[in-house]
């Protein structure tokens, strides 16, 4: 069999949510891409796995052939139904995206930068005072949700409750335990109730925050955003920003801990941190991939796709494609990442990319400044058992100067 044979695609059991995949993610995607640019997985209800960079880019670009209307996840998400605008195609997508974009633009993030810096400094100073900590729960998992909740206008005193409910939902995503599932259902209902209460509050007393805009904005057709849509928008904002930015921070910290000369260089030349961040999200995909619905019969990457098939655009594989990136598995601070699909590509390109870039830069600069002699205990670093959403660490223990 050859990969060019459109009648007989490579069939795999590729399952991005499996523990097996989590333990071998990078090797698995690198191998699969070289076996077939598009393979068929018999996991879930069956789906195409697209691995080569040019094809992943093309799938993201061609929203007419690869629709978002069945959502961006395989299998479809249970937590939140139809995410907005993630599960929309143009032209409807742009209506909602343009309501959100001003709140996450480079300019908007720049205005919040001093506040973000202050919050990060408080947290990192707290770590220094404690002497030992875990970068995952004690820094990485706190800031992205804090920024998003603040943009929405959620009272800082109540943000901890939101973060805790989301963390439980994310941690237990693959569970089949009925008690845990019941707790997740209660958490989800609690979040929905809070979102609706916040929206009702803003209709009564509008403020300068994103929740007010969602609760009161008039759409071009004269209608208002419904309560159900507000939930679908807020859920995706909270979930999409939560583990992605967190995963990138810990991936970069662990990467440079293995390479002391690179850590030294970034500490000495902090203006190179943004380049290291772009390389980190390329090498350790914070978003593993995105699903699309095939809208018409077509040949793609050497296989024959059928209308109604699902395709998974595997960002993690595309980002290490040697056809696009020379020495693709190496971190190269001088690399041109202009065509990187790490933040997606096309109309759905990551809304939070400026937030992520600024927040990651602030966190790295602050760590280098406030705890320059931190040491990560590499023997106790644990990767996540679930890499289906993104490349994540479960635990990254650290301390001042290596003391426990």
């Amino acid at each position: 069999m050859t990969v060019e044979d459109v009648q007989h695609p490579l069939v795999t059991h590729f399952d991005h949510h499996s523990v097996d995949f989590a333990h071998t993610a990078i090797d698995t995607v690198n191998t699969l891409r070289e076996q077939a640019p598009v393979a068929w997985s018999d996991a879930y209800d069956g789906f195409w796995v697209v691995t080569r960079h040019d094809l992943v880019s093309e799938g993201f670009r061609d929203f007419e052939s690869f629709s978002s209307r069945k959502g961006a996840s395989i299998p479809a998400l249970s937590f939140g139904s139809t995410h907005i605008p993630t599960s929309m195609d143009p032209p409807q997508h742009a209506v909602y995206r343009r309501i959100l974009t001003p709140w996450f633009s480079q300019t908007a993030m720049g205005k919040r930068e001093p506040w973000m810096r202050e919050r990060v400094r408080e947290l990192v100073t707290g770590l220094r005072d404690r002497g030992s900590w875990d970068f995952v729960p004690d820094l990485a998992d706190i800031m992205p949700g804090t920024v998003t909740l603040t943009i929405l206008g959620v009272d800082p005193a109540r943000q901890q409750e939101f973060l805790a409910a989301m963390a439980r939902g994310m941690a237990n995503q693959g569970t089949t335990d009925p008690d845990v599932r019941a707790e997740m259902e209660r958490d989800k209902q609690w979040l929905v109730d809070q979102i609706l209460a916040e929206a009702a509050d803003r209709r009564a007393t509008p403020r300068d925050d994103l929740m007010t805009v969602l609760a009161t904005e008039q759409l071009p057709d004269g209608s208002k955003i419904t309560d159900a849509q507000i939930i679908d928008i807020v859920m995706v904002l909270l979930l999409a920003g939560f583990h992605t930015t967190s995963g990138a921070l810990t991936a970069l910290l662990v990467h440079i801990e293995h390479r002391p000369e690179l850590r030294q260089r970034l500490m000495a030349e902090p203006d190179r941190i943004p380049a290291a961040i772009e390389e980190t999200v390329r090498l350790y995909a914070p978003a593993t991939g995105m699903a699309r619905l095939v809208t018409k019969d077509r040949e793609f990457g050497g296989v024959r796709m059928r209308e109604g098939d699902m395709a998974f655009l595997l960002i993690m594989a595309a980002s290490r494609d040697p056809r696009q990136f020379e020495d693709a598995d190496e971190m190269d601070l001088d690399r041109n990442n202009g065509k990187s699909v790490a933040f997606g590509w096309g109309v759905h390109r990551c809304l939070g990319l400026h937030l992520a870039r600024i927040l990651l830069k602030i966190q790295m600069e602050t760590i280098f400044e406030v705890v320059p002699d931190y040491r990560i205990d590499l023997e106790r670093v644990r990767l996540s058992d679930t890499m289906g959403i993104g490349y994540l660490h479960e635990s990254v223990p650290a301390s001042i100067g290596g003391a426990r």
């Binding site: 143009p90 032209p91 343009r98 974009t101 480079q106 202009g338 096309g346 390109r349 400026h354």
Partner: protein, 65 residues
């Protein structure tokens, strides 16, 4: 014949135009979009319209329709 230009005040380098109309747009060294030379917009009208509609910053301006 149509012409498209990038409003440099609005563009933030989200690169949506580059994805939707790669023959028309490119990113400069600072990561902001510009229109490639040679009036490529005229030959790629459909792509350009998708890019104009898709730009999250509404930073692409069409002229000369």
């Amino acid at each position: 014949m149509i012409q498209v230009r990038v409003d440099a005040e609005r563009c933030e380098g989200n690169a949506v135009c580059l994805a939707l109309a790669p023959e028309v747009f490119e990113l400069d060294d600072s990561g902001l979009a510009y229109v490639l030379p040679g009036e490529p917009a005229t030959e790629r009208q459909d792509d350009v319209r998708r890019a104009v509609d898709g730009c999250p910053r509404e930073a692409l301006l069409l002229a000369g329709e």
